[in-house]
Amino acid sequence: MKSTISKLVTAAMLVTSAALMAPNASAKDATDLNDLEIAHVAYTAGNIDIRYAHLAMAKSGNEQVLKFAALMLQDHKAVNDQAVALITKLGIKPMDNDVSKTLVKNSQALIAEMSALEGNAFDRKYAGNEHAYHQFVNGALEGVFIPNAQNADLKSLLKAGLQVFKVHEGHAEMMSKAVGN
């Protein structure tokens, strides 16, 4: 059992490091981030999903996709509002970093790609990405950011976020299958 969990955590860390690593070889990867950088990545990841949701609201005609996108707008805003409240309470300023920059860069490319799609092709791409994105974010939270966060309040908020995003992941998986992936 222990070795299975250990393998899962290791796998999540490998996936996270590989996926989040900046193209610059000297850049820090996800496992090296401090609390201020972790907070920035978490907030950025939430904002990216909000941007995907806005795109889906504008482009999709599928009721299930629209409902999911509305849920993403609501839930990610709520989590990010909590993050802002925590940042204000602690009097800190999250630090931009290469991982956040890479996430933004990748999301911009994906938004451009999805913007060119129509109808079911868009729905399939959006739904498939939501499933994969939440899997990826949850792996990063569980395997890297939550264990590495030092501040108890930040760790607690990341755990609360993970709980939310796991529900989203399950929901996204069902949506993805429903649109034909």
Binding site: Q74, D75, A78, Q82, A160, Q163, V164
Partner: protein, 106 residues
């Protein structure tokens, strides 16, 4: 001195109360970790159930049959329901339909 209107109101209230002599009870359901806790709650008609959202995202407590429901409850918000029906009152969160609970009303 009681006015005619007050008397009528009192009569209406008296007729509207449940036959049991027991005082209505206030119960609490916490919404936490995407679950209603307790998931099953035994209540009596006339009791009050207070739902408190302790999650970071908004939830609702909404009857599956659509007969009652809360507004969106943000983190820390509460909403109370006065139980007026008997039977199994199934409810869920409109935003996260996997979240389900039941009030067993006698």
């Amino acid at each position: 001195m009681l006015t005619r209107r007050t008397l009528i109101s009192s009569m209406v209230l008296a007729i509207g109360t449940r036959p049991s002599l027991a005082e209505p009870t206030t119960h609490h359901v916490d919404i936490m970790g995407f679950q209603f806790t307790p998931k099953l709650l035994t209540v009596s008609s006339g009791d009050r159930v207070v739902f408190t959202n302790r999650d970071v995202v908004p939830h609702t407590a909404s009857a599956v049959d659509g007969s009652w429901g809360s507004v969106d409850l943000s983190n820390g918000a509460q909403w109370s329901l006065e139980v007026v029906r008997r039977g199994n009152l199934d409810y869920y969160c409109q935003h996260h339909p996997v979240m389900r609970g039941t009030l067993i009303s006698s």
